[in-house]
Each structure stands twice: as C-alpha cells, then as structure tokens.
Amino acid sequence: MEDGLSNITLTDRIKLNVGGKLFETTISTLRSGGPDSLLAALSNRQVQSSNPVFIDRDPEIFSVLLSLLRTNRLPSTSRRFTDQELSDEASYYGIESQLKSAMLPNPLSGIDASVIATIRPASDGVVSAFTTIDDGSVWIAHGGQISVYDWNLTHAGTVRTHLDSITSIRQVTPSAMAAIACDVASGIHFYNFANGRRVGSVEWTDPTDPRIYKARVTAIADSPDSVFAAFDSHHKENSVLAIDKSTLQVTSEIGRQSGNSSKSIVPGNLTYVNDLGILAANAVTSGAFGFSGYIRLWDPRSARVVWETNEPGSGRSSRFGDSFADVSIDVSEGTMCKICSKSGDLAMADLRKLSDDPWVYLRDTNPSLRNTSGGINNSIVHCYRKQVFVGRDGGLEVWSRVAQNGENNMEIAEESFRRNYMDKLEDSERGIIKKIEGGGERLFVSREEAEGLEVWQSSVFSGAVLVS
C-alpha cells in the first residue's frame, strides 16, 4: 500500500518464476525479509497474475530461502548447500539478516555443549592468541598472521603482520581494526583488516626516564573510546597506557609501578568493565613458594585505584597459601571469579559489592568430580553468559547456576552453582587448555602446542547415531 500502489495488499499472492520453476507466495512473506531486500522490491511491482516475475537464479536454493521466509527456520534441504552458498544467495536477495538469525547457534549452555568444529589455519596452525567478537566470529593470531573467521566460521581473510609472533590481540571496537602485540617485540600495533595495512603503532616513552625503552605489551583491553595496553620495560618498570582510538596517541598513564615484587609486576590481563567504567588488571606469578599475584581495579579517568587485593596476604586466613591461579571478569554480569592454585576451588565476587574479602567460595557436591583438583598445574577460568568455564590441564568443566523456581535470584551463594564436566575423558587428552573465551553463543578453546581452535556450541539436536 506504499508509494501509491494501493491495489496491493499484504495478503495478495504473487507468482515467481525462479530459473524456470514456478513459486507462489504472498506479498507479506516476500516483505518479511526487510524493506530493502530485492524480494520486497519485487513485491512492490504491479502484479499481473498471469505473468510471473522472472528471476534468473537457481530454483532449489530459492526454495530453501522461501521456506526460511515462510517459517523463520532453515529446512533440512538447506544441507544440500554449503553455508557459503546460502549466505551468498541470501545476500543476493537481500535477506541475509533472516538467514543469519536462523543459523544462529542456540544459547550457550555449558552442560549441553559439544565441539562443533575445530578451526585450523592453513599455515602456522598453533593458535598463539585469539579474540572473539559478539556475533560469534573470531580473530586468530597464529605465527605472524591474523586470520578472521566470520559468524559462520568461514575463513574471511588473513593478514600477515610485521611481527613474527603475536601474543595479544584485541578488536578495536567497532572498527575492523585489531590491536596486536608480542611479548618479545616492543609496542602495540594497529592493523586494519579492510586493506590489510598497519595503521599505527604506539611505544611507551618517557623523556624523564631513559630506562623506559623498547617496552613490550603484555595485555590489551578495549573501551568505547580508548585502548588500554600494559607495557613492561626491560627494567621491569611497567605501566598501563590509555590510547585514544581516533588519534592512536597515548592520553594517560595509569598505575605506573616498579615491578620489583610480585605485587608490582606488569599485569598479564586487562579487562574493561563498561557498565561500571572500571579497568581491571591482574597478574599472577608462580615461583618456588607457590603462586602470588594481585587484582587491581582503576577508574581510568582519574587513574585512581578503586579496589585491590594481593594474594597471598589478604582475604581469609584459612585460605592463606591458596593464592589464585587465574581470574576472570564477567563483564555483562559484573562478577569476578578466581580459581585457587592449591585447592582448585572456585570463588566468586560481586564487582558492585567489593570489600576486604568479597569472595564466596562455591561448593561443589558432584561426587564424580571430587578429588580432581590435586596435581593440577594449569588452571584457567573464564566467566561468560552467567556460567564459569574452568580448564584444569586438559579437562574442561562448567559451573552453571541452578534455576530457582523461576525467580531471577542473582545473588551469589555457596550452593547456587553446580559443577559438571563439559568434555569426555578423551577430549581432555588433546592438550593443556591455554585460553578459553566466549563469543556470541560460542566458546572458543585453545590448547597448548595443539593446532587449531576448538569451537564449543550448544545444540538442540540430539546427535543420535544410527547403528547399522
């Protein structure tokens, strides 16, 4: 009824001739792909019922897309085509968003997830760093290359950088720019994926201090207007620099410290919590006397420390000597998790209610997981989608919240989480888990010395295996 075509109503039928095959549908179905799609444009034409609209495309793939428009789900016949073909064809008709939402994985639930794919870059396949994007795509650093895999996990391109190895990578939101760094070469470098060029580099310099020279970057975080990078000089002097996104110039220096004790070494991890406007850093070292480290939260505008804890040395005395091995922050939930190095216990804290000892040590009652913490050398924790994913050497487990009678009780209590294995025993033999990170409805896991990146996803399909 737009543009004066008052004789068209949404329930009007329209005949299409796609590649010689006749289809009949309604105007409203064609328009459900969005007002800008080719199909919506076709539906605006004057319809002569005797004369079907001719489209010179493959009819079989069109029938899949027509089913998609009718039902909002992909029929099984779509499996005859690759994801690439479908998305190419959908972008021709202008209904990409429909296809995207139909192909979206189910909400990530750790207790129901399995490895759906392992991304293996063609060369230098050992993943040294990766970063995930909200739509489920991932940027992988391997060797000196960065490879981009889109929401479909199809390879979208590779950029060769000037570095020979990349140990930190972060997307500079919302652009297609990556901030990369290496722990043996100095500086943080910005690469643009659109043209594969280096856009700029930032080094830490201090005219008053000649020791600040060729500082390396150990961690990168991203906020709406700045990029934060933790720089470490050869004399262990370290600092976090805020870099303006538009100018790529250093705007401020946060938390400069000497680095001569474990409480002042360079952070190995930086996280920006957008909701609270704080920058969190944590560092862990392990030596002959066990683990030690700190967690520190800054207000990046004033560069003031908001809260900090050192372990060993703070917290409850019964936990002395049980310093954390890894820390993760759930940015959307505003919670923080740590995993204890000795006991293997998991503790959670609310970022809004921080005190001297904010930790709630989660109790685990699953008898099949009892006594699994001994002898674990590498513990990795990652909070994502209200769940806590823990890698202990090669094993992957998930702590998920038990639903309480429909109430949305988000309080952290000792008993509110259940611990379950995500993997099977044979999965854990693929190598020590080095990094876990969630992106979209996916969980990406990289393992030490193992080629490729595992992609974990929840599915409603039972995966029933026919016995022949």
């Binding site: 329930t11 039928r13 005949k15 006749l22 289809f23 009949e24 549908t25 309604t26 179905t29 029938s63 027509l66 089913s67 009718r70 039902t71 789900r73 029929p75 099984s76 016949t77 639930s109 207790i111 129901d112 997830a113 399995s114 009652t365 699953n366 008898p367 099949s368 998920s400 919240r401 038990v402 639903a403 309480q404 009678n405 429909g406 259940r418 379950n420 294995y421 995500m422 993997d423 099977k424 025993l425 409603v460 399909f461 039972s462 995966g463 029933a464 295996v465 026919l466 016995v467």
Partner: protein
C-alpha cells in the same frame, strides 16, 4: 483410517468431478476440495481434512484463508511437505517419500497445520512395539562425563535421562534434546508425568521434586517428615492413573513410609501407607520400598524392598490396597531374595531375579493370596549358592513380555500358550536372548525402559542411551 464417505461417489480417494477443475469447486454439496499450497494444486475431500480434528488450520480453511477469484484457498507453505502431510491424513501413515526430508521438517510443518498428534500416532505408537523384532538401532550420546543413573519414558516414546545433576530430555523423534540442571547431585528415581514434567528423587537428597523441564525449574517439592522432623530421602516413585506414590525413608534411616499424592489435584496428599517406625532390632520394618509398581487389574500397589545383611539378602513384597491402606498380601523373601522384581499386568504374574541364583522366577497373581511360592524358570539348584549371581540384574515387564538385563545381556521372557493344556499350575515361559551377535555383550545393564515403539537401555559407565526398535519402524 481411510477417509471413506458414506453418501457421495467417492471411492479409493478419487472424486468423480475432478474434471470440473476450473469451475467453482467450492460447493457445499461436492466433497472434493481444491487447495493451492505454495503454487501447487491439491485435491482432496472434506472428510480427509476433518480427520485433522477440529480447531486446526484445515477446519476453518474455507472461512479465513483468502481465496482467489475461483474460490481456491491458498496456503503459503511448502507444497512438497504438504503433500506428505496430506498422505498422512489420507492413510494415517507417512509415505516413503517422506524419508527424503528430515523428520524435524515434517514435525515443524505438522505443528503448523495442527496435526502433530496424528504424526506422533503414526510414527511412535506403543502398539507398534514388536518385542521379537527389537534390534539396537540408535545410540543417543549424552554430554559430559556422567553416566546415566535413571531413565523415564512417556507412552509416545519421548525420553528423559538423568546423568549426574542433569536431566537430558529427548523428544519422541529422538532428534531433539534439551538439558536441565537440577539441585540433585545424582538422581536415583525418575518418573515422567507428562512429556515435560518429571518427578525426581534421590537417596541422598531430601524431598521429591516435581520438575518442569520446559521452564527448567522445580514446580513443587513434596516432603515427608517423621516425628523427629529430619530430612527424608526418596527411595522409589510409582504411578497409577490417579495417584503418584513415593517411598520415603527418613534421613536417619529409622522410619519409612509410602505417600500417596493426587495426580489430578496438584499433588495433594491423599494418604500415607506402609509407615514403619523402627524400634529395636525389627529388621523387616527397617526395609523401605525400593520399587513401586501399580497393578491395574487388581487395583493394588506392589511395594518391594530388600536389605543385605550378614545372613544374606532378605526382603519383602507387599500388595497394598490404597483405599483401605492395608497390605492385602505379603511375600517374605528369605531364600534367594530378589535382586530386582517386576509385575506384569498382562500376564498377571510377579517376576523376580534371585540374587543368589541369578534365575528368573514367577508367582502367579491369578489366585492372589493363596499360599504361592516362587516357580523358578531356571536351574533351581542355584537358589542356595552364595555367589550372588543375580546381583545388579534388572527386570522390567512391558506388555506381554518380561525383559531381563543380566550383566551385559538382555533376555526376553514370553509365555507360550499351549492351547487347551493351559492350566494354572504349569505356565510355560521361554526365554530369548535379544539382539544379533554384534549387539551382544557390553557393560552391565543399569536401566531398561519402554516408550512408543522403542526400548531404551543404559549401561554402566556408558555416557549414552541405546535405543532398540524394530527395523521396519525406523524413520
């Protein structure tokens, strides 16, 4: 259900006026109906469409759907899938060409047209269960490292499996699943009340939980308390058309009871039967019921429990009248106590596996209450052996058969009817070992369940469920 009509000239599904195609077919007197689905024309009869039932898309097709000039209603759906569902309406079965599609497509489309029940009926019907034609056909994998502890089935063949603190539910087509996290650390008793509601209990967790698996949380917790108000663990769950039975034992293990809840009235407590408080050394009353079976034909609840002590395993089997709350009949098990027991309503007999002998025995229920003793169907000499050969065996009845899991093997017991010679004293039961050679063996069987035309089997340390069904019934 062929859609024959009584009055009009229709036979074999053909209508005589199909050549009047271009004229208006939509006349109340003619039975043939033309529908345009996605650009393809279909002709059928009103009778066929009304088989879909009232309140479906078809029943008001001619009122609501837009019609073009010659009165043919148009449905904007896939024509190929419609032709499959039309065959389903006509014949009650899916045509073989349906196999070109995924069952999920057909289910989704059937839900759109409102004929999902018909589809389930044709694909997963308990009457299609063929005990002598069962073979291992599907393996359903479970995520994580926990082995299944209990299973629950519904009549149309959907399945709930508890493993660790989780319950994974499979729909009747076994193609879709969902997993729910519970408060339990492990679930020992699981019973499906409807496709999405289960009752779950554990021997180390207080209370029976009624869980809504669609929403993922506890609807209700049913508790029993003795005088000391200690916690109460769930030992067994049973069901009759009206009632839900739960066998509780107090946390200190000094009392036990069977509670009867009303299924129709929001699990209101109806009565309490078989309450035992333990004073002194009365061993018999200390045994809670670990299996509850409803026997519809005699309207009694069979409750059985056993106890392993220094002098061997002893137990009891009681038949309870729910209304009077009295035990009508009791069997004491001192020699070769059951390791698992079941009752078959169709055969009217109780079957057990002796814990010592490992052999199947039965008691006829047809003259209940008389001094019956077990009729051993195997080697009677093994009754007194101390090897506990029957330990860990499972026995379940379904229809006219009794299924028995002995270690890794599945046995099927059925009655041979001997014509006129069939007197009550000598009933003849014969056994078959299920499966082909390749299916034999495996880990010890921990659960056997039945739903739709399928049998479900779980094994120790296997993170999967085996589905056994007749090869011809597989989609």
């Amino acid at each position: 259900m062929p859609p024959f009509s009584q009055s009009t000239p229709i036979s074999n599904g053909f209508s005589l006026n199909h050549n009047k195609f271009n004229q208006t077919n939509h006349q109340p007197s003619t039975n043939a109906i033309t529908i345009d689905v996605g650009g393809q024309l279909f002709q059928t009869t009103k009778q066929t469409l009304t088989l879909a039932g009232s309140k479906t898309l078809f029943s008001n097709l001619f009122d609501s759907c837009d019609q073009d000039n010659n009165g043919v209603p148009f449905i904007d759906r896939d024509p190929e899938l419609f032709s499959i569902l039309l065959s389903l309406l006509r014949t009650g079965n899916l045509p073989s060409k349906a196999k070109a599609f995924d069952i999920q497509d057909i289910i989704f489309e059937a839900k759109f047209y409102g004929i999902n029940d018909l589809l389930v009926e044709s694909q997963s019907n308990p009457s299609q269960f063929e005990p002598f034609d069962l073979e291992k056909s599907i393996i359903l994998p479970l995520s994580g490292r926990d082995s299944p502890s209990a299973i629950a089935t519904t009549p149309n063949g959907s399945l709930h499996v508890s493993h660790g603190s989780k319950i994974t539910s499979f729909d009747w087509s076994l193609q879709k699943k969902s997993t729910t996290l519970t408060n339990f650390t492990a679930i020992d008793s699981l019973l499906a009340l409807s496709p999405n509601i289960v009752a779950a209990g554990a021997t180390d967790f207080s209370g029976l939980q009624i869980l809504d698996l669609d929403l993922g949380f506890v609807r209700q917790t049913l508790n029993w308390e003795n005088v000391t108000k200690s916690s109460s663990t769930v030992q067994a769950i049973g069901i009759s058309p009206e009632f839900l039975f739960t066998s509780f034992e107090s946390g200190r293990r000094n009392s036990n009871s069977i509670m009867v809840y009303d299924l129709k009235d929001d699990f209101k407590l109806v009565s309490e039967i078989a309450r035992n408080e333990i004073f002194g050394a009365d061993l018999d009353s200390a045994i809670p019921s670990t299996k509850l079976n409803w026997v519809p034909s005699v309207n009694l609840l069979m409750a059985s429990g056993s106890h392993s002590g220094p002098f061997g395993v002893s137990g009891n089997i009681k038949f309870w009248d729910i209304r009077s709350g009295r035990a009508v009949w009791e069997i004491k098990e001192n020699v070769d106590c059951f390791s698992d027991i079941t009752v078959s309503d169709a055969l009217l007999a109780v079957f057990k596996i002796g814990v010592n002998s490992g052999e199947v025995s039965y008691i006829d229920l047809r003259n209940l209450g008389s001094n019956n003793s077990w009729n051993c169907l195997g080697d009677t000499r093994k009754v007194n052996n101390g090897k506990k050969e029957g330990f860990g065996c499972k026995i379940e009845s379904h229809g006219n058969q009794v299924f028995c899991g002995k270690k890794g093997e599945l046995e099927l017991w059925s009655e041979v009817l001997m014509g006129s010679l069939n007197n009550e004293k000598d009933r003849i039961f014969r056994k078959n070992v299920l499966g082909r050679v390749k299916d034999l063996g495996g880990n010890r069987i921990t659960n056997v369940g039945f739903g739709g035309n399928k049998m479900f089997v779980t094994r120790k340390d296997q993170q999967c469920v085996e589905v056994w069904q007749s090869s011809g019934k597989r989609f």
